[in-house]
């Protein structure tokens, strides 16, 4: 009996008991579909986070004042002091590294902004012209902060889209003057509306030159220095260079923390991948349950078809052939179940993608393979026993059964 005949015969007996077959395929396909959908969701969450991170900038290295490693907390940090501030000159000096393309120092504070009778509290960002490029921000109208001397405290500002709307409404904002704290700034640009990314809403900020921000808040320290390395490969050397330059400038004291975006990203990536695996694993349990169901139904099938098995033996089918017939049934069941489940799962993923367009859901290829593998595997594994039972039936007894 060749393979085609075996499959055809098995298909025939599956068709012979339609309800049973449909139920089995349903159980199997629900298992496969849940693996596909759940890993798709997990993978979607992972890609969402990765995308968000990438939108912050590419090849990003971030310098923070103070050390935040476990062993490095000094008594000063507990009191809220930072051993040494990051200065604008520190930032400027980083450009000496040949791995660093551009930098943007960052100062953050909050202040009252007013225009005419309107006023509100805003987050003020002090930076330089390169911030736009490094952070992948988009300008709506006018221009961004001028390039040039970082120490020059020009009284110009760029408004977030929402701030502009609230202060100016339909009026022209470019060229107008606003008051920030006790200084007056001329509006030279408006940011494009971008919404929130990684908990930071660029629509509700005001950006001024970093030196102006220092004067406004009466400080000289930096909140962060954003560094863009020249390429992906240059990220690590850029990080080393930044550490070294700042070490030298700070008289040999390691009092800054340099993190790479990649490192943060990798951590998120690992966490979310583990999560996806865990969720997929839970879904795979339903596949195992479906496998046990297959075994149960196959055992029933063996006892229901006991006369047929006896007949096949009398007609000259050796034990191995009977076993193969039952194997073929199990493989067909789990195979069809896998395909149906895959279609259901992908449809589910598509549906979720339609409902939450911002979530890039799609099941990873390894999960799809694993789901199909598990379903076929359990199908075959759990049909071993029923198939053996059928093969070992005594034909005389089987035929005498009425």
């Amino acid at each position: 009996m060749n393979l085609v005949d075996t499959l055809q015969f098995a298909l025939g007996s599956l068709r012979g008991s339609r309800t049973r077959t449909l139920l089995m395929i349903l159980a199997m396909s629900i298992g496969v579909a849940s693996v596909v959908v759940l890993t798709g969701l997990g993978e979607g969450a992972r890609r969402y986070v990765v995308d968000q991170f990438s939108s912050l900038g590419t090849n990003l290295v971030i310098v923070l004042p103070g050390r935040t490693e476990t062993a490095g907390i000094g008594p000063g940090m507990l009191l809220g002091q930072i051993p040494r501030e990051l200065s604008l000159d520190d930032a400027q000096d980083l450009l000496r590294s040949r791995y660093i393309r551009r930098i943007a120092p960052l100062t953050v504070g909050s202040s009252q902004i007013s225009q005419g009778a309107l006023n509100r509290e805003v987050v003020v960002l002090g930076s330089t012209g390169d911030l736009l490029t490094i952070r992948h921000m988009e300008l709506g109208q006018g221009q961004f902060l001028p390039a040039g001397d970082v120490h020059s405290s020009e009284s110009v500002c760029v408004l977030g889209a929402k701030i502009r709307r609230e202060l100016f409404g339909q009026e022209q904002a470019i060229g107008a003057w606003v008051r920030l704290g006790d200084r007056r700034f001329r509006v030279i640009g408006v940011m494009a509306s971008q919404g929130e990314s990684m908990g930071f809403n660029t629509d509700e900020i005001v950006i001024v030159p970093v030196a102006s921000a220092h004067m406004l808040f009466n400080t000289s320290g930096l909140f962060r220095i954003l560094v863009e390395a020249k390429s992906r490969e240059a990220i690590e050397p850029a990080k080393r260079d930044a550490e070294e330059i700042l070490l030298r400038r700070h008289n040999g004291e390691r009092d800054v923390t340099v993190i790479t975006q990649d490192a943060v990203l990798a951590t998120f990536d690992r966490v979310l991948r583990a999560l996806t695996l865990a969720v997929g694993g839970i879904a795979a349990i339903s596949l195992a349950v479906a496998g046990i169901l297959i075994m149960n139904v196959m055992l029933i099938a063996v006892s229901q078809r006991i006369r047929e098995i006896g007949l096949l033996k009398a007609l000259g089918a050796p034990a191995a052939q009977i076993r193969n017939l039952f194997f073929a049934e199990a493989i067909l069941l789990s195979g069809i179940g896998s395909v149906v489940g895959l279609i259901l799962g992908e449809a589910g993923v598509l549906l979720i993608g339609k409902i939450y367009p911002s979530l890039p859901v799609s099941a990873p290829w390894w999960a799809v393979l694993a789901a199909i593998g598990t379903s076929l595997g359990t199908g075959i594994l759990f049909s071993v026993w029923p198939a053996r039972r059928a093969a070992q039936l005594d034909p005389v007894m089987a035929l005498a059964r009425s």
Partner: protein, 243 residues
């Protein structure tokens, strides 16, 4: 062709050993028409199962076509069954979900014969047994006589040397029973060894060789319609399983 030499078969029932066959010596040649008769529990079905290689003797040897088939393993025996032995049962044993044509085709599929030859043989068999217009009917759409004709067509599809029939007319009325017997007897002309187990003396009486069994032994063999009077009233049921 069939040589049984001191063949015995016993079963363990509970903690007792029950002998179903005791030292059977039997020779059957190609083209022989043999009926086996006897009361319930006399061992006729067990003997038929042994000849059909569905069962193994506890002792003694069984030679088929000169070769000792007692020592063959299960797979080899299955092959012999496929190639040399055909079965016709009282309960027909057709696969309910398959059409008449597909039931006839079954042994050919199991033997791995190519689809084109299979189709040709099935068409011919359907024709020979007058089933051409019933080819696509399932067993539950066929009459008893038609079902048994399908079963005979199936049993002969591999051109067996031996045809074993266990109460082939047991589930049929007299007229169709006679028709079925006529069909089986045609095979004898084609040099098939036909062995019929029955407790109906009329059916059994048609055979050239009539074996009478009692208590697992062949007590008489006659070529004429003589034999012992059978207590027919106790014999309407199929023989109960000994195990």
């Amino acid at each position: 062709m069939i040589q049984l030499d001191k063949v015995s078969r016993s079963f363990i029932v509970g903690d007792q050993e029950v002998a179903a066959l005791r030292g059977i010596d039997l020779n059957i040649a190609a083209g022989d028409y043999v009926s086996i008769m006897g009361p319930s529990g006399s061992g006729k079905s067990t003997l038929l199962n042994l000849i059909g290689l569905l069962d193994r003797p506890s002792s003694g040897t069984y030679k088929l076509d000169g070769g000792n088939v007692t020592d063959l393993n299960d797979e080899q025996q299955a092959r012999v069954r496929s190639e040399k032995i055909g079965f016709v049962f009282q309960a027909f044993h057709l696969v309910p979900r398959l059409t008449a044509a597909m039931n006839i085709e079954l042994p050919l599929i199991l033997a791995g014969i190519s689809p084109t030859e299979r189709k040709a043989r099935v068409v011919k068999l359907l024709e020979n047994y007058g089933l051409t217009d019933r080819a696509d009917h399932r067993p539950d759409q066929l009459s008893g006589g038609q079902r048994q004709r399908v079963a005979i067509a199936r049993a002969t599809s591999m051109h067996p040397a031996v045809l074993l029939a266990d109460e082939p007319t047991g589930n049929l009325d007299q007229t169709t029973g006679k028709e079925v017997m006529n069909l089986l007897e045609q095979l004898v002309v084609q040099h098939v060894a036909l062995i019929v187990v029955t407790h109906d003396p009329v059916i059994g009486g048609r055979a050239q060789r009539q074996l009478h069994m009692v208590d697992g032994q062949i007590i008489s063999e006659t070529g004429q319609v003589v034999g012992r009077a059978m207590p027919a009233e106790t014999e309407r049921r199929a023989e109960p399983d000994l195990r």
